[in-house]
């Protein structure tokens, strides 16, 4: 343990130099870093949201609702298919995760079947072809269509991917820097936006489904007329969207009877911009070719009738069609403020979410708290560091100074390691570094105590040091590995800030083992060679 092979010495110096090189960019300003040559390391510590300020949102995509909607579309398609082929049916509807129908007169020859099939056989054949990825089960006269597990999985994945994409578009359009948008688990999205301290507007934007559709109104129930108790078949009730001012004074909202049939939907939009019309903020939109044609056809056929622009089940406006709109462009006016028109235009441009979303968790930190935390962390680090340095010197004298040099180097290596891994430094992470300062000396303490013991048992300095290092080594490894286990599990389980703590703790354990076992030993051995002592000052 006393002799160092040359390559080992070189390796130790190389690791230290590398650590320093990796750590240095953190001390430089952005301009200085940009001026570094290409080969030089440039990456720095990432500050976590709790240190730089920003917002963390955990969103959940309501995949179940999307799936229910899909089943109900399937029911619609079944009804349509059976009707066009003149097959009698009853009790059609969704049943849990599948759609069911009972065929009337199942054994009678079907009207439209060419090869003499019965109603049931014909219906089964038709429904089998209805949608790919489904399986059809027949029991008696009852037919059940359900999606295969593969299809459900694929579809759910698709819904989540689409949601992520749309969230990304909306966040990007919001104009923030370096947002992180990640999938989490089967149905969640993690959004992290640095620098954004008041995310209410962003949340409002992200959370909106933004499903826009154009419908005709049921003319029998013009606004102001008494409403029926239940919506007539083929129609639904929708309330007028209210401005914030109206909401606050709890003004009654008009209810419209809107026809279910969608004339044109937001999917056909290609552009949408906030603009002004006669001094009032409005949103302009433009359809793609198909949407434009559809819109032209419907408006042509319904001049003089009112229609409704519905956004997420609220009527934004219900104007009367004055003339056919053939150019494929139009304007939505409501009681908007300027920022509302900006948001609406953004939402329409980014597209509708395939499923509703809820915010499960929000954590926002203002930039001033972040700065305060950094300052406090620095002070705590410095004070902790000085205390440990002084204590070690008092306890071990010269050897304490060796340990202290190793500790300094250890800090540099931690910063270098964190920069290399592009790890995120959080407030608990800083605590992790300070804790590591305290614990890092442990390996040296173990060794020094062992050396002391060996000296007391009457060994020569050289052989005491040799035995000290040798015997302490397994203890150090066992002790650090067990702590490392805890740190790894912490990393696996933890979220954001806690992960940062686990990372600094783990890196600190590794670097402290290196500095204690290699660096201080090199120092001790070199010192010992220079002066051939009879007694050890330990």
């Amino acid at each position: 343990m006393i002799h160092f092979a040359r390559w080992k010495i070189i390796l130790i110096f190389a690791v230290c130099a590398l650590g320093i090189a990796l750590g240095i960019p953190n001390l430089l300003t952005n301009e200085q870093r940009a001026a570094l040559p290409d080969w030089a390391p440039k990456s720095t510590l990432n500050l976590g949201l709790d240190l730089r300020g920003g917002s963390h949102l955990l969103l959940e995509v309501d995949i179940k609702t999307a799936f229910k909607e899909r089943i109900s579309n399937l029911v619609q398609a079944m009804r349509q298919e059976l009707r066009t082929n003149r097959i009698g049916y009853t009790r059609i509807g969704p049943r849990g995760d599948s759609a069911q129908v009972v065929i009337r007169e199942p054994d009678k020859k079907a009207n439209r079947a060419s090869d003499g099939q019965t109603n049931l056989e014909f219906a089964t054949r038709l429904l089998r072809r209805l949608e790919p990825g489904t399986q059809v089960d027949v029991s008696g006269a009852q037919i059940t269509i359900s999606y295969t597990p593969d299809e459900i999985r694929n579809r759910n994945n698709q819904v989540l991917q689409q949601s992520i994409e749309i969230v990304r578009r909306r966040v990007d359009a919001f104009g923030t820097t370096e947002p992180t948008i990640q999938r989490q688990g089967a149905d969640r999205i993690l959004v992290q936006v640095p620098g954004l301290a008041n995310p209410e507007r962003l949340i409002a934007l992200i959370g909106k489904t933004a499903k826009m559709t154009f419908h005709l109104l049921d003319e029998r129930f013009a606004p102001g007329m008494p409403l029926p108790t239940v919506a007539p078949a083929g129609s639904f009730f929708a309330k007028q969207r209210q401005s914030r001012e109206e909401q606050q004074r709890k003004a009654p909202a008009t209810t419209y009877v809107v026809k279910k049939r969608v004339m044109v939907s937001g999917e056909n939009l290609v552009d949408s911009q906030p603009t002004f019309e006669r001094g009032r903020p409005v949103v302009s939109f433009r359809f793609d070719t198909i949407g434009g044609k559809k819109f032209g056809r419907v408006t042509q056929a319904n001049v003089g009738k009112p229609f409704a622009i519905v956004l997420d089940n609220e009527v934004i406006s219900a104007p009367v069609i004055q003339e056919p709109i053939l150019g494929g462009t139009g304007i939505i006016s409501g009681s908007f403020t300027v920022s509302e028109t900006q948001d609406l235009a953004l939402l329409l441009r980014a597209g509708a979410l395939p499923a509703p979303m809820t915010v499960l968790e929000q954590r926002s930190v203002g930039p001033d708290l972040g700065a305060d935390s950094i300052a406090a962390g620095e002070i705590a680090c410095l004070i902790g560091f000085v205390l440990v340095l002084v204590f070690m010197m008092l306890a071990y004298g010269l050897f304490g100074i060796f340990a202290n040099i190793a500790l300094l180097l250890n800090m540099v290596l931690i910063v270098g390691g964190l920069s290399l891994l592009q790890a995120t430094l959080t407030l608990p992470g800083i605590a992790g570094i300070v804790l590591t300062i305290g614990m890092a000396v442990d390996a040296n303490v173990l060794i020094f105590e062992r050396i002391r013991e060996e000296v007391q048992s009457g060994r020569s300095p050289l052989s005491s040091i040799d035995a000290g290092y040798q015997r302490a080594l397994t203890t150090i490894i066992d002790a650090n590995l067990t702590t490392f286990i805890a740190a790894v599990i912490l990393f696996e389980f933890g979220s954001g800030p806690i992960k940062g703590f686990a990372v600094t703790l783990s890196i600190g354990l590794l670097t402290s083992m290196f500095t204690a076992i290699m660096v201080t030993r090199l120092m001790v051995v070199t010192w010992l060679r220079r002066r051939r002592l009879q007694t050890l000052p330990i």
């Binding site: 203002g366 010269l398 305290g438 067990t482 696996e492």
Partner: protein, 318 residues
Amino acid sequence: MAAFPIKLIPADTKIDFIGSRKIAYIFSGLLMLVSVGFFAFQGLNFGIDFKGGILIEVRTPGPANIDALRGKLSGLGLGEVALQEFGQATDVLIRIERQPGGEEGQKVAVATVKTALGSDVASYRRTEFVGPKVGGELIEAGILAVVLSLLAIMVYVWFRFEWQFSIGAIVALTHDVISTIGVFSITEHEFNLATVAAILTIAGYSINDTVVVFDRIRENLRKFKAMPIEELLNLSLNQTLSRTLLTSITTLLALLAIFFFGGAVIQDFAFALIWGVVIGTFSSIFVASPVVMMLNIRESISGGTIGGNETSQGTPAE
């Protein structure tokens, strides 16, 4: 160069740790009893991480008038609203219980609070809300993490030492975890995600300490085959005592620096760790080692299952 080491801990202490273990048992037993009792009857002051709810930290233009702020917020019908000065006179931490109406309900309540506070607040330093769903999941994940790491540590110690040591280690760690939870229940410090992280770190620190002692016990068991076990444990504990204390002191120094200077956000975390270092040091001396003794470690080792003569000087490597 003159070197002047001060022996902070005398090198050849002869403290009868094992002889006084009964007192330690009584202390630990009471500690466990009180911890479990408080946990059962008083429970923990869960932070929003676990029970859901809203946490807002605000800075007021001047020194905060907490009563006035409370007055404004209590009229909003948000249920239990707790305010406390946080770190300094201008900073106030507002905690609002979980709102009905699931995730959406929390969001709406935050907006209501911000409207109500209006110009009383200079800046919002932190806004957090956690819905009921996430809270439940975090509790599960926290328990799982603690149990998993205890098991992993136990397996590692079992693998590296005799089984008696791994039982001793797990008993000591469980002791540390339970007493930490107990301290949080007694002092009503907020128990949150960071506390769970602290518990895991405590487990890591405590096992570190314990392993060092175990290492020495094992070494001595092989070296002094005829020594009575009580004497041998005392010898091992005394031999490692100065290391145990030195490391505890440096770690405590660092933690005290975080506690006093690291800012209000991290203070509870530092508090938990400080407690953990103290109890972890205690448990490796007074809990882990006596357990190993009770499990007849001597027979295992001298029975020669692992044996091996390691009293030789060891060949100089390299």
